[in-house]
């Protein structure tokens, strides 16, 4: 049972937990420099009012940079969106195509396991390790805030909101990862899959940024998954956005089911 899953879990942990670990350490670093940064925060807040920054930051631009919580969201979640783009283009796409390149897929599929299950177990390893992002963010956020208290007694954090925001990170990794998997099962070729998945994901990321730059092209952001259930939206609305959650989750689920179906049914020509 779950042989492929446990094989991946024991063999891939180093490469997969590294980005999550870096994010965790980054939070600690931000907490370390915040006392010095706080005094200049108002000047930074002024810069953030610039429309270019506003479009880059999206709803996160509404965060008050002068508070520890606002700065935390700006520093962490803006970077995390870029990390998500990078990871979801490169990791899930290669789950299948890497096996094709290394010629291990033919033997792997000669064992008695349905193809869809083989792929699902491999993908589940990716999803399991991605749980480390919300966990590390929460732990680092909690300890970062605690460590700040002696220097900034007003430092506080809404952990419920942070929990929901960090869940959005995992949800994006799931939804966009599923899209990448779908692309890779269609092409079964690493270069084509990376190019197409990269174009789609980067394209969606840019759509939401460009769309928020001007009212006339505002509609563009609605066709991007990054527009829904983002950390900025969660912070702005102050709670769990059920409708947006289901849009992102549904998108991911449809992509994943389509990928599993295609991989099960299609012929493996490479």
């Amino acid at each position: 049972m779950l042989n492929v899953y446990f094989k991946g879990l024991t063999k891939k942990w180093k490469s997969i937990i590294t980005p999550a670990l870096i994010i965790g350490l980054y939070v600690i670093m931000i907490a370390g420099i915040w006392p010095a940064l706080k005094d200049q925060a108002e000047a930074f807040q002024f810069i953030l009012d610039n429309p270019i920054y506003q479009s880059i930051l999206g709803n996160l631009a509404g965060s008050m940079f002068t508070t520890w919580e606002g700065a935390f969201y700006l520093y962490i979640f803006v970077w995390l969106e870029m990390v998500i783009v990078f990871i979801t283009i490169f990791t899930p796409t290669r789950l299948v195509t890497n096996e094709i390149d290394k010629k291990t897929l033919d033997v792997a599929l000669s064992y008695p396991i349905p193809r869809w299950r083989y792929l699902l177990e491999k993908y589940s390893v990716f999803l399991t390790y991605n749980l480390l992002y919300p966990i590390f963010i929460l732990i680092a956020g909690y300890f970062g805030t605690l460590a700040l208290r002696p220097f900034d007694p007003a430092a506080s954090m809404n952990y419920t909101l942070l929990f929901v925001a960090s869940i959005s990170v995992w949800l994006y990794l799931f939804a966009l990862g599923s899209l990448s998997i779908l692309v890779s099962t269609i092409f079964l070729d690493s270069r084509k899959s990376l190019a197409v998945a990269g174009s789609l994901i980067v394209g969606m990321y840019l759509l939401v940024r460009i769309g928020s730059a001007a009212e006339s092209i505002n509609f563009l952001q609605y066709i991007s998954i990054f527009h829904y259930f983002s950390a900025g939206n969660i912070m702005e609305n102050g709670g769990f956005l059920v409708g947006e959650f289901f849009i992102v989750f549904g998108f991911g689920l449809v992509c994943l089911i389509a990928a599993l179906w295609i991989f099960q049914k299609r012929e493996l020509t490479y």
């Binding site: 063999k11 033919d106 000669s110 064992y111 349905p114």
Partner: protein, 309 residues
């Protein structure tokens, strides 16, 4: 279908690519890889599948494994449909592809444990295989040579003693000693009733271990025969030594249906290739003064080349 038949391939046709008509333009091209191929492999036999690169051997094997979608025909393994019952079939099947890839960050030991979770491995047989192949099981796969990787691949395919083995060019990269050991193991498995479907470029390998051979050319089966019958029936090398340089009507002998070629090596020696009805040939030469005549079976290589020329 007889219970003795493990693999039945009937009228298999596989075309790669499809033409898509977009108004006037035609996009893509079709490649007929396997054309109406039919053959069967009986329980407990080693069936050799011969053909040059691109003849359709790997396509046939990958179709059996349900990796490819066939356009026409049917494939059954153990009487089960290769598509609908592929999981059931794979529980009883071992496979090594022509281009073998193994997980590089695993050791042989870890790979054996991994495979054991899918198809229980016979520990006793594994021990025997490890004695024969003598490859390190503690080193990471990435640090092994190509030949050693191939040995690990063979151990993984054989160790669970599956009822049916599909081996695509299995001895590639093995040194002669390992190849000989591998052949011994295959013979032993055959004695235990395990069925083996093997493709190879090495004709001497096919000749030494296979019971029957199928020759595929440009996607079509052109011959299926037992090795021994094939060698006897289809081609024999005849060497004639004449007592002295004398006239020998080479043009006349070439008119016989059974004579494929006649070559004069020197003034007194002739080498002929004769097929099937050798009595016709013997009848023709009975009146000729001959010092010595030797008739021997042609090698599989000669037969193979004969069919490919």
């Amino acid at each position: 279908m007889s219970n003795d038949v493990v693999l039945q391939v009937s009228n298999l046709t596989k075309i790669y690519g499809k033409k898509i008509d977009i108004k006037i333009k035609k996009v893509g091209k079709e490649i007929l890889a396997v054309n109406n191929v039919s053959f069967s492999v009986k329980k407990g036999e080693i069936f050799g599948f011969l053909g040059p690169n691109g003849a359709g051997k790997t396509t046939t094997m990958r179709s059996i494994l349900n990796y490819l979608r066939i356009q026409e025909g049917s494939i059954t393994v153990f009487g089960l449909d290769h598509n609908k019952d592929s999981i059931e079939i794979r529980k009883r099947l071992g496979y090594i592809p022509g281009e073998l890839g193994l997980y590089e960050d695993f050791t042989g030991e870890e790979l054996v444990k991994y495979v054991d979770n899918f198809r229980p491995i016979s520990q006793e047989f594994l021990k025997e295989l490890r004695t024969v192949f003598r490859v390190s099981f503690t080193q990471k796969i990435r640090s092994l040579s190509h030949g050693n990787k191939q040995q690990i691949g063979l151990i993984l395919a054989l160790a669970s003693k599956p009822e049916f083995l599909i081996l695509d060019e299995p001895s590639i990269g093995l040194d002669p000693l390992m190849t000989a050991n591998f052949h011994k193991i295959l013979r032993k498995l055959r004695e235990e009733g395990i069925t083996i479907f093997l493709s190879s470029h090495d004709l001497s390998e096919v000749q030494s271990i296979c019971d029957r051979v199928g020759i595929i050319k440009e996607g079509k089966i052109i011959l299926i025969e037992e090795i021994e019958i094939l060698k006897r029936k289809f081609l024999q090398n005849v060497r004639i030594k004449l007592p002295s340089p004398q006239a020998f009507d080479e043009e006349e002998i070439m008119k016989l249906d059974s004579v494929i070629s006649c070559e004069r090596v020197n003034n007194t020696t002739l080498v002929l290739k004769v097929k099937e009805n050798i009595s016709e040939f013997l009848n023709w030469i009975k009146d000729i003064d001959i010092l010595r005549i030797t008739i021997e079976d042609a090698s599989l290589e000669e037969i193979f080349l004969h069919y490919y020329e």
